[in-house]
Symmetry: C2
Subunit: 285 residues, 2 copies
């Protein structure tokens, strides 16, 4: 099994694609990279991030056992349609997209017989974009979600799971695309929406940075956000994210109403509940 | 000037009082500690956090140049009334309370002639409470706000500022009590309200801790909160905090409405604005 995948093509050498390349190359795989940006291709070669790289994957795909499409979700389909005729027989494909539900069916219809697409979401990233910020150390101890489709071969799923663990991911989980999108709306998209709203709600009557402590700094770190990618992720998971925002607002309203009514008991109750949950949470990690 | 304060009594040896004691003792001051909890007094002596400690400050106050009242805001007035007759002539007092506006006048009316109370807020803390979590390293590079009163002597303000810098605080700022409470509502209390609401809004249909990345972890760290202290701080600054929550909700509504309307342009605009602000912010720190 270990011998099955030897050669990998990574399409899109941004933060995540670049980090995949670094991780897989260190593990001994032959890694080819493709990126539409010439500067990125040059860097990937010069820095030894990939064994070879080009502005198109066409030369690499026919000799690759695995193709990782590390593009923005909307670009995956078009790229797959382009490379489909070039895929090696029995090749496995995978993606890194942060949304899954409205995505899988169309893609599977494009696959040539004998190939297999394993949908995956490596839950590791950076605020910054581009190959300059690629760093495979972000995978260490991180979570990795696979959303199996009925068409997937068990061996392909196991291969991608094994690869994720080799790259350093700790928890590798399997969810349905719908479960994935619900969980992600709460643990990732909602925090990003909150951080953005918090930074934007500053009336700037004071020089905020001079007054902040760790709390504000921690809560706003992810307000530094790639606007093209995240607006796509938000809109691609709109119903789930709206539900999560509404549930969050309900809980914030409990605090607001308690304040308005000088209701110390309710406030303390909310704080105790949050503390209890957050402490359990620390134990599990 | 450096010679003016030699002996300090700290009343309340919790996280902040205990950390003050540690910092001042290392700096060569004679430090006495008082705490109503016998176990805390024992630990303070055994661990050398204070030169001496007792369950009452009565024996220390008459020989102290500085008295730090590191109690919950509501307890400051009562404690001051008790120790006022014991204060050394010319003594300086200070506090560590996270709210200031509804606080200063009453306290100043209790002060004996010749003493001076400098209101201060060291912006450093811990999620945990009690002397076991006292650690003066949290002061390094942190912010310190003084809210001068018209009654303060310039020399007393300068003394407390010098002391704060000696203990490791980097920015020492002077604000009116009203400015302090407005800034704190936004940079500290609002983030705590958000973190609590976020954790409490989890519907727990999934095992959340298994799916979180850094974003959720960062945003909820401060949901581990001392309910007695923070409900007091929230209610003591209720109008400012309510305003901050409402401004935040407006900005979150912009995101919500953009989602509902599939309005990618507005979403991107909000993300760009947040990123720009958060990046400037990094430069300043």
């Amino acid at each position: 099994m270990k011998d099955r995948i030897k050669t990998v093509t990574i399409i899109g050498l941004g933060v995540i694609g670049g980090s995949y390349a670094m991780a897989l190359k260190k593990l001994g795989y032959t890694v080819y990279g493709a990126d539409c940006d010439e500067e990125t291709v040059k860097k990937a070669i010069e820095r030894g991030i990939a064994d070879d790289a080009a502005t198109t994957a066409d030369g690499f795909v026919p000799i690759s056992d695995l193709v990782v499409i590390a593009l923005y979700p909307k670009l995956v389909e078009g790229e797959l349609a382009r490379i489909a005729p070039l895929l090696k027989e029995g090749a496995i494909l995978t993606d890194v997209a942060g949304i899954k539900s409205h995505f899988t069916e169309k893609i599977e219809s494009l696959l040539p017989e004998g190939t297999d697409f394993v949908f995956a979401h490596p839950m590791a990233g950076r605020e910054k974009k581009g190959i300059d910020y690629a760093d495979d150390s972000v995978f260490k101890g991180a979570n990795f979600i696979i959303t199996p489709s009925p068409k997937n071969r068990k061996e392909s799923l196991d291969e991608i799971e094994r690869l994720a663990r080799e790259m350093g991911f700790r928890n590798v989980m399997r969810l349905t695309p719908e479960e994935h999108d619900r969980v992600i709306a709460f643990v990732s998209q909602l925090p990003h929406a909150i951080a953005v709203a918090l930074v934007n709600s500053d009336d700037r009557k004071f020089d905020t940075p001079r007054f902040v402590g760790d709390s504000y700094r921690d809560l706003t770190r992810i307000a530094n956000i790639n606007e093209k990618l995240w607006s796509e992720l938000f809109l691609g998971n709109k119903q789930n994210l709206l539900s999560s925002i509404k549930e969050f607002e309900k809980c914030l309203d409990v605090i607001k109403t308690a304040l308005e009514n000088d209701d110390k008991e309710t406030l303390e109750g909310e704080f105790v509940r949050a503390t209890k949950r957050r402490t359990e949470f620390n134990k599990e990690l």
